[in-house]
Amino acid sequence: MISQVFILSSKGDHLIYKDFRGESGSDAVGVFYEKVTALTGDQPPVVMSHKDLHFVHVRQGGLYWVATTTADSSPFTIIEFLNRLAALVKDYCGSLSEKSVQMNFALIYELLDEVVDYGYIQTTSSDVLKNFIQTEAVSSRPFSLFDLSNVGLVQKQLSRRLGFFSFQGGKSEIFVDVIERMSVVIGSNGMLMKADVEGEIRVKCYLPNCSEMRIGLNEEFSIGKSQLRGYGAAVRVDEVSFHQMVRLDEFDSHRILRLCPSQGEQTVMQYQLSDDLPSAPPFRLFPTIERDSGGRLLMYLKLRCDLPPKRFSTFHNLSSPDQSAELKPQSRAVVWKIPRFTGGTQLSALFKLEVPGLSSASLLEVGPVGLSFELPKLTATGVQIRFLRLSPVQPGPSQRWVRYVTHSDSYTIRI
């Protein structure tokens, strides 16, 4: 049961405030912000309490999404709800930011009104909600549906998708995204210590009428260690779970998922793989750390990309001529940005750091190296979509997109 929902900007401005049950005072927002600012560090705990008020919050798009609730309510439910609410707002407003929330506050109030009644979650399905939501999204910038320059990148997709729900007469499109997140730890000796992949298949459907779709995965897709299929190299995952609307009658024999997609975005299938990557990890680092005669710290880093030569990766966080490096004294880190890194090549960098009071022991403090990257058109597990069939056959032009991307959840190389 949710008593209040409010959205605060990172500076504490009230953006949205809705009281569903009228039980606790409206000073809750102030109390919450006081608690957040009273803490050191920018990462307040998820649950905070003040007398009988229990705040549960998530941070998305630099905003605090807060619900007040009772002590016995389920944290899983509330957090899932807040995440879902943020996703809905993103779907409707195009992006999540202080500005977009401010501009679309009327829409968000309307959304909240339909989603929650008297503190009880009614529905969060975009299929249902589109019938009720009347307010049109306001966009801070013009958008073009035909700007397909960045189809490969999921994150940049947002601006393009803006206002899809209020744009009913638009083009019919369907996206099937295979998104994988890698978390890898490579030891100082170059040994692969840990390699986990969390993957999901997401369907974003904007087709006016689609009764059934069939997604075919690799024939040799196998689950668990014992089960091996086909003759080629198996594509193996440890655990799989499906959305409840997926029918699996053809899955065992032909690896086909059948489903009736509803409008908007759904995660159709989730899978995990631990410790047994089919190929070598995409990046290797060869570091040399030493102290020069002038008492400076020398870091010589050689980074090799072990992907097949045709592929490239984009370090979205980190710019071969326009690379850049920056020292962040606050987090005591050197950030090396590489905009584009072609497979099968290697890059090297030499950093000289003036460290006051450098001792030989301080060398032990250097590291680890964390990589954040995005590998488009690639899945670490090798999961592929063989085909995508829609029925009934769509009249008129419809666009089908299948996209693959692998993100780094946490790619750590110890030194």
């Binding site: 560090g41 389920s74 899932e80 979650i121 009347q134 499906f242 987090s331």
Partner: protein, 809 residues
């Protein structure tokens, strides 16, 4: 949020709202209203515009209607009279052919939260329950709950309750779930909605139709159901199995909660369910949402309390990502500590070592103390890492390492040599008071082994005037006193200076009193001082030796899937920072009735100590309270290693040599009837033993076979000057009590072999009825030999065991 020019804005908006030109232009009208709502959500008081907004309500534009309703619901409570005006519009809307308008009107009618409007609302709500559109019924059902809470005292019509019950069969799943919610609220005083067999089965069958929120709600309500038969229970469980491994964490958690409450009597089923959710929980731990990860981690910690081995193979899933927030990292480390075992300890420590140099000091300190926790079982490897970290000369790291070492030494005294060696020189890096306190404690307790201890203390004493921390001063006093006891020549002068300063110049009463106490204590003589100051060096509790026992699931089942587990951690971390270990470690307080019975049974032996001294908080207060013809004492303390050495070595020797009488020690074996002893908790047994000054060293967990306890004490007869050391083992082998093998070696150690051969000793209950056929074998080893003391000890031990087992029975 201060909003300058608030009044100006209100006035301007009022002018715009009442302007007929604006009113006739729909778009302008709507935009003006938008401005009002915007200002409202920024925290400006807009209640002055209520009457203008009421007028704006009567429009065909649904968007405008919605906006006005947002406004009206916020300010209705301030303007009850004016709100009456809205009711007419709302009631008219309830007749609208468009179901959306109907549901909107109905919802906002009930959201106004005005008791005066109840009479107008009831009729449309009743009609709403029978509306043909599901969205109207959804709103109407919850509307009744809102109405009830508005006037909790008034009786809700029984007809409405009946209607709500019948709507549980509504084709729309959301209506069904809303009925559950509404009935829960309306019937709160009667314990909520009646969950009987037909309703339960109806709900279970329709579970699939609901979305995840509805499923969670249904699963939560079903927790009150008690199946009538085992078959029914298992039918329900098999229905729920699919939801248990649901990819949606809320459903999974709600299902597990339901499992735990349905099978509270069947631990085996519970454990199987926990095994089953491992996959989904681990998946939630890798979720894209940090908050969801955190929630899953906190709940995994709960599960681990009952099945410590549950995640053992998946320890890598709990390695921290470098971009994760500190609160997740700290939780992950807490989990990692639980998962350590022989195979993964090397990997785990390597990983934790990587976190020790984290930029976030809290994370670094948490990593260091996690290594310390692992050090309790793998001390060598951990000490190596900790010692290495001291080399970094970072103040926060050094501080955390010293504190960790202190805590480690307190539970694993065998580490003290390495620690003493590592301590040299780290006082230069230490800055914060916590770290310095820890260093001082270590120097005080192990001063004789740290060669530079007096010099280090001298630096502290010279700087005491500028010392700000009270804790450091207190610790400094105690440490100097302790060091004085073992190295008087080097310490005497500085102790004098310190006491002089603290008594004459110190302004803090606490410190001054402490110094005065020590000063007077020194007047009483060195032996007295030693008695008071040389307390324990190690933790007398058994936590370390036996590990944490697996808790039954019922201990935490109630807090599963509530906010509780998410909040616990912050408290734990607070208590982690503290002063000396002996002041904070769990002090096994015997429960009052237990100590009473024990005292009664001992009354002839116990006479109170003549000089009723009042000692400080050290754990040895109990030590001096039992003085008898035979008195037991725990000092000097015996380390587990020492115990093991004596026990094993001498035992082997003893087995070979027949002429043990020449030896300086004696063995004795005996059986004591106390059927329920092996079932009693280590804590209570330990508490009971400590009351009579017997130290228990190691335990097997209760209910395991063979069940063993190792203990020791020092005896001292009043008429003989020297004390003897007694080591003992209690052994309970289970169904077939062994015949006590009386050792030939001990001269008159055998006291009696009582009914051990009885074959009836099958069931514990019978045994107790028959006068205790189940026996615990007691093996004692005394050094040097003193039969009288041994007998005396035996009788004390027997009394304790009998008292305990009679309590248990």
């Amino acid at each position: 949020m201060p909003y300058l020019g608030g009044e100006e804005t209100v006035r301007e908006l009022r002018r715009a709202l009442s302007n007929p030109n604006v009113q006739s232009d729909q778009l302008r009208y709507r935009n003006t209203i938008l401005k009002v709502i915007r200002a409202m959500s920024q925290g400006v008081d807009m209640s002055g515009l209520f009457s203008e907004m009421v007028k704006a309500c009567a429009t065909v534009d649904v968007v405008q209607k919605k906006l006005v309703y947002v406004f009206l619901c916020s300010y209705a409570a301030l303007n009850p009279e004016l709100s009456l005006l809205v009711i007419n519009t709302l009631r008219k809307d309830c007749q609208d052919p468009n179901p959306m308008v109907r549901s909107l009107a109905l919802r906002n009618m009930t959201n106004l939260r005005l008791p005066s409007l109840v009479e107008y609302v009831e009729q449309p709500l009743t009609a709403g329950l029978r509306d043909r559109a599901a969205c109207v019924r959804r709103v109407a059902v919850l509307g009744w709950a809102k109405l009830h809470n508005l006037q909790p005292s008034s009786e809700i019509d029984a007809a409405v309750v009946n209607e709500l019950y019948s709507l549980l069969r509504d084709p729309d799943p959301v209506v069904m779930v809303n009925c559950l919610r509404a009935l829960e609220e309306i019937l709160k005083d009667e314990g909520g909605v009646a969950i009987n067999k037909p309703i339960t089965h109806h709900l279970l069958n329709r579970l699939k139709e609901c979305d995840i929120w509805g499923q969670c709600e249904v699963l939560r309500v079903l927790q009150r159901y008690r199946p009538q038969s085992e078959d029914e229970l298992f039918d329900i469980l098999s229905l729920l199995d699919a939801s248990l491994v649901s990819p949606h964490p809320p459903v999974m958690a709600a299902t597990l909660s339901l499992f735990l409450s349905l099978c509270s009597g069947q631990p085996a089923v519970n454990l199987a369910a926990l095994e089953r959710v491992r996959g989904p929980l681990l998946a939630a731990c890798g979720s894209g949402s940090r908050e969801m990860r955190f929630t899953a981690l906190c709940h995994i910690q709960l599960l681990l309390r009952s099945i410590p081995g549950l995640m053992g193979a998946h320890y890598k899933r709990f390695f921290c990502g470098y971009a994760e927030p500190a609160y997740i990292k700290q939780r992950k480390m807490q989990v990692l500590v639980e998962l350590v075992n022989d195979e993964n300890v090397a990997m785990l420590l390597d990983e934790l070592k990587g976190y020790c140099t984290d930029v976030n000091t809290d994370t670094a300190q948490a990593a260091i103390s996690a290594i310390g926790r692992i050090g309790r079982s793998y001390s060598d490897r951990c000490l190596e890492i900790l010692t290495g970290l001291l080399g970094l000369k970072q103040d926060h790291i050094t501080s955390a390492v010293v504190q960790t070492m202190r805590d480690l030494v307190w539970v694993c005294p065998q580490c003290s040599d390495t620690v003493c060696f590592a301590l040299e020189g780290c006082e230069e890096t230490l800055q914060d008071s916590q770290g310095r306190q820890a260093l001082l404690w270590l120097l005080g307790v192990y001063g004789e082994r740290v060669s530079s201890a007096p010099y280090t203390l001298e630096v502290f004493i010279d700087g005491v005037r500028s010392e700000a921390s009270l804790g450091v001063k207190m610790e400094l006093l105690t440490a100097t006193m302790r060091l004085f006891l073992c190295r008087p020549a080097e310490t005497q002068d500085m102790l004098g200076r310190l006491l002089h300063y603290c008594i004459e110049e110190e302004t803090d009463m606490c410190v001054r009193d402490q110094a005065l106490l020590y000063y007077r204590l020194l007047h009483c003589g060195i032996e007295e001082t030693r008695k008071v100051l040389q307390g324990r060096r190690s933790d007398p509790s058994l936590g370390v030796l036996i590990g944490r026992p697996a808790e039954p699931v019922s201990q935490w089942a109630r807090s599963f899937n509530t906010l509780e587990p998410l909040r616990q951690g912050s408290i734990e971390t607070e208590s982690a920072s503290r002063g000396s270990p002996e002041h904070t470690t769990f002090d096994p307080k015997p429960n009052a009735d237990l100590s009473d019975t024990l005292d009664c049974s001992h009354i002839e032996k116990v006479h109170s100590d003549s000089d009723g001294r009042c000692l400080d908080s050290s754990a040895d207060i109990l030590a001096s309270s039992v003085a008898a013809p035979l008195s037991l004492s725990l000092f000097p303390a015996l380390s587990p290693e020492e115990f093991e050495r004596l026990w094993l070595q001498q035992r082997a020797l003893h087995a070979e040599q027949e002429e043990a009488e020449e030896e300086d020690f004696v063995w004795m074996e005996e059986c004591v009837r106390c059927p329920t002893i092996p079932c009693c908790s280590p804590q209570s047994l330990q508490a009971a033993m400590q009351l009579v000054n017997i130290q228990t060293l190691a335990f097997t967990p209760p209910q395991t076979l063979p069940w063993r306890v190792y203990l020791y004490t020092h005896t001292c007869l009043d008429d003989s000057p020297h004390s003897t050391l007694i080591l003992g083992e209690l052994l309970y082998t289970g169904e077939e009590p062994q015949k006590a093998e009386v050792n030939k070696g001990s001269a008159d150690g055998e006291v009696g072999v009582e009914g051990t051969e009885d074959e009836q000793a099958r069931q514990g209950t019978e045994a107790t009825a028959d006068g205790g056929q189940e026996t615990v074998k007691v093996t004692l080893r005394q050094q040097p030999r003193d039969d009288k003391a041994l007998k005396g000890f035996m009788s004390i031990l027997t009394t304790v065991l009998h008292t305990l087992s009679s309590e248990k029975a």
